[in-house]
Symmetry: C2
Subunit: 231 residues, 2 copies
Amino acid sequence: MGDKGKKGVVLLSGGLDSTTTLALALEAGFTPYGLTFRYGQRHDSELKAAEKIAQQYTLGGHIVVDIDLGTFGGSALTSEEYAIPKGVKGDSPGIKIPVTYVPARNTIFLSFALAYAETLGASDIFIGVNALDYSGYPDCRPEYIEAFSTMANLATKAGVEGNPITIHTPLIHKTKAEIIEEGVRLGVDYSQTISCYDASKSGQACGECEACLLRKKGFAESGQNDPTNYV
Amino acid sequence: MGDKGKKGVVLLSGGLDSTTTLALALEAGFTPYGLTFRYGQRHDSELKAAEKIAQQYTLGGHIVVDIDLGTFGGSALTSEEYAIPKGVKGDSPGIKIPVTYVPARNTIFLSFALAYAETLGASDIFIGVNALDYSGYPDCRPEYIEAFSTMANLATKAGVEGNPITIHTPLIHKTKAEIIEEGVRLGVDYSQTISCYDASKSGQACGECEACLLRKKGFAESGQNDPTNYV
């Protein structure tokens, strides 16, 4: 158990990983402050999921920040120019960057989390990154998170004044099945969460993109019932 | 001289420092891509200055990104709750954080610059931070910039694929007078730039805030004519 009631900023996308992260922050005794981004996603069903989840839990606060990642283009997740690829990328050594990679996304998200934390006087940030399933995303690796923490503590008033920021990544070494088991143990309602890169306006998952396939596989391996609403 | 025509992202606020940085990037042979933020400043004369300056120079591109720093409050530069302090903070050892410090501002700005650079295929970012005049801002120090670079190269496709990002800070160790001398040498029209924290809607500087006093002192020490439009 962490310090009872200590404020923690939780990046909350409305997906399976961030919702489980929120449940873990609560279990550790933090008062979570949710931070969600409207960043030029193709649709806003993910955003609606985040808002619904924020209402289900007892949060200290929840803010939705508009940012303009679409301006930069460069990813299938924000641009109409790319098609969402179906299937899982092949296993191969080294880092392969998928087209769903949004330039500098986690860096931008964590930077806003840092601003929010500093404004709240919080020194804890929770992010549901995962190094196993998303090894193609350079900004999901432990060495990246460690470098961000070092930078954050040089960047901020809190860091400079001896109250260092900690970036918590409780899922970083877990498989999708292990994440789901944790969430089920904590009573997470996964039917409310959206992982799909290509969900319909009403929030139905495509069942065929990489995120859907990883999610399906996770439920299968965990032996848990998959409550996802597929088209 | 740098590589002729190599793309470089230049953070352009419309102030004296960022405009001089732009002129230095051009002198070094870069094709600059300007990046300006609308971030809940109290007024937009700074923004207009940035747009005017971007038109005066030959840029590869210029984008203005809307971000929502005002949501977080916490600074006299974005919130109506604080009064802009007049005068220069006292010289004293150690870091003192002024109320004009915006939480994590340079971290957020550099994160967007990183996204823009990655989208352009650029590996150079220019920022006009200064460690002497702004020693109260933790995110203007060389050790901060170094930590950001390390993080950036772990975060991004470019860094991972062996094309590292360089953060250029050509003003970091210069006095305001030295910055002005560089700019005058390069033909910068400082009457177009706005440094004031409390400028009027029409872009007149207050002459009394810390930024104005440092700017006045810089012109006085450099022996250059001060073309600033004061109220």
